[in-house]
Amino acid sequence: MLAAQSTSSPIIDQMAIATFNLTKQFDRQVAVSDVELQVQSGEVYGLIGPNGAGKTTLIRMLATAEEPTLGEIYIHGDRLLRDDSNPHLKQRLGYLPDDFPLYDDLNVWDYLDYFARLYNLHQPRRRRRLSEVLELVQLTHKRDDKIATLSRGMKQRLSLARTIIHEPLLLLLDEPVSGLDPIARMQFREIIKVLQEAGMTILISSHVLSDLAELCSSVGIMELGYLVESTSLEDLYQRLSRQYLVVSTLDNLDGLVGELKQQPLVRSWESCAPNRLQVEFAGTPAESTALLKDLIAAGIPVSEFYGKTEDLESIFLKLGHQQTT
């Protein structure tokens, strides 16, 4: 089966990432089990799952930092191997691990210059690219500073700059925002959006699901080494996310609850604040407007009424997974 797939099939060619039977075993522990991951070009693919689910091992294998026990990896249709027999493939990959050792004896510019050279960037393109990435990661003013003097957030952004210096087609980011403060996280998110617009395929693992919900076009859920779900975010919401109505009243909730009981499209409700209910409603937007009219007609002092979709974290928890946030 693998042999048939390994010949350049159209599916493999179209995919930025295609893995077959990908398995990694540490001693008796199967860290990644039989993963068949397919990520299309230009996608931002979010990988979620509890600690120890195998996300980091999967990303490390995709980045050639780890050797699979079994299985094959194809990047844009080409078989990925760990030795130096495929430099053109490595040229297409950018990998940012969750730890980021740097050379403290070099300054920011020299560090990036070194990696630009490792990725065969020549002048004048190299100088231009260095300036571009420094601007993108907002470190232009630090270009002559020693790396040892940078803050954690700056070092993380410098690592990202190193990862994208050669304009990879596929970017693999493992927990890129862990340990960053909210502002640094926001800056990082903005950079990812710019890279996405530039056409990079990005695979990102994170525990911060709100970030992924904002950035990703598809997600994969890993558990105990298995890829248990891999789909577009849109499809995931459509299949698993329930629509809610948030209704607040100036009065106590009894009147509101009494009126809701009369409504056939209302499935259930729960209190989410002293005077607010989260209502599971099976109707269309037009029917929810009709509901609002009914409530007002019944004399309920409605102060808030809006629709809400269940977020990624709720869906994740609903699927029976536990996510560290």
Binding site: R28, A65, E67, T69, R82, P101, Y103, F115, L118, N120
Partner: protein
Amino acid sequence: MVFHQWLDRIGDWNPQLFRELKGRLSKKALGLVAIASLFTQGIFYLSLRIALPSAGISTTNHYCIGRAPADFDPNSHLIHSQNFCVADAAGNLNLNWPLWWTDLFITLSVVGFFVALLGGVYLLIQDLGKEQKAGTLNFVKLSPQSAQAIAIGKILGVPSLIYVGLALVLPLHFWAGLRGGIPLPLILLFYGVITASYGFFYSGAALYSLVNPTQPALKAWLATGGLFYLMMGSTTFLLQENSHVGNLMDGVNLFNPLHMLVYLGQASAAAEQLLTFNYDSLADVSFFRVYLWENGAIAGLIYLLLYGMGIYWFLQAFRRKFHYLNGTLLSKKQSYGLTALLTIFGLGFTVQSPLGAIADHNDWLFNFLLLSLAGSCYLFTLMAVLSPSFQSLQDWSRYQKGEWQDWFFGERSPAIGAVMVNVAIVTGAIALAVAVIVAPPYKISFALGVVMQGLMVVLLCVVAQRVLLKKGKRQGIGATILVTSGVILPFIFLGINGVNPELQAAPWFWTIIPMVATENASLASIFLTILGQMGAIAVLHWVVGRRIQQLGTSELKQTLTTAG
């Protein structure tokens, strides 16, 4: 500005070299190295200047070239290496300047060689170990650069300050050589050989740093210390009158490039008066009885070939280890090539004409014993080199086991199959050479001894293989202790009990040198022992096979078995 342009161009050729130079060649470091280099050569220059005689004070000196004065008692004689000092009409002493310059050339050569060799090896192991430990090398590994390019960048860049120091000594060194009357082509060849030797030792150091990369500082000190003693021993040996021993040790000794100084000294204008590197017994060294070391130019080219081959093998292993840190240094297929090459190398120096006054069979037997012992040590090392990690063995037993070829060519399969092939290559070649060369009364018994030795190596390796298949982190150490005990303990036991191999041969058959006892043993007992050894190997191999089978079973089956 020029420096930066130069650096930029280097960076386009080899980014790793660029990074190393950028981090090291600061103005301060360059200034310090320049001062240290000039100061050191100044010290050596002045110390040799002080050794020159003073007009009117010295009557004899090593560097004088005068005849004995008329009043000199013909019955007395000067101490070794001293000559009479005679002044000319102007009162200046006639001095043997070529000798003085050659001495300076040799002194600077030896000191410079040792400083650069040990300093470079230390820095490389320490630097690569540090990068491994910090994890910075991982990003370099992910780049499209080849492992060789990174190794070359490291080798040229990490000891760069040492190279600068050497470059500053070079003008004086070169000038000393020319003034000493050493032919220019030979000086250039010497530089070529020394450079190649640095390539050889440095690529070995780079490889060593990747093997089990823990405690880089300790590893660096161990390697540098070991190399220092080895090279000092070898250099001291080269200075001996009888540095040619007519066996494998000649070949080992030839890895010291300072050997070239013998040819340079002989070609100098002061060849007769030189006190060091003045023996030409190495001209008697032969390789398969071809006398290749009679001529400096040919010897130099052989050095270049030897170091070139060494660098090739080191870089091959570096390439594998660089990308697969948990992988083996050599593939099984590569090991067969290396073993064949080293066997030819060892045999070439073993089958030189026997030396010394007693040119009978004893020399041959000793030479072959030395070769086969060295071969056994190499094969034990190969067992360690070819053994994949426990994880790889487990993966192989579970997912890939099946084809018989895998035992001899597979990447993750146990080493024992490949070790058997390598033992066959070494043992077969040595036994064949013994059968051809050694005199008839000894050839059969000795050749059978070599075969028994090969079987003992396999036996110990199978035991080691079983240990390596046990779960745990320190099985490598356990296997090493076991093999070492298997080699040494029988000797201690036989020694304490006074077992004479000529009277009681059988116990000696189970040591690593059974050939010392085969001469006086009956053919029947030899063949019975061989059968016994083969039987023991078969049983142990079956045990190994069963363990592999067990490793390959699924967790469920194992759990059920355990529960049952």
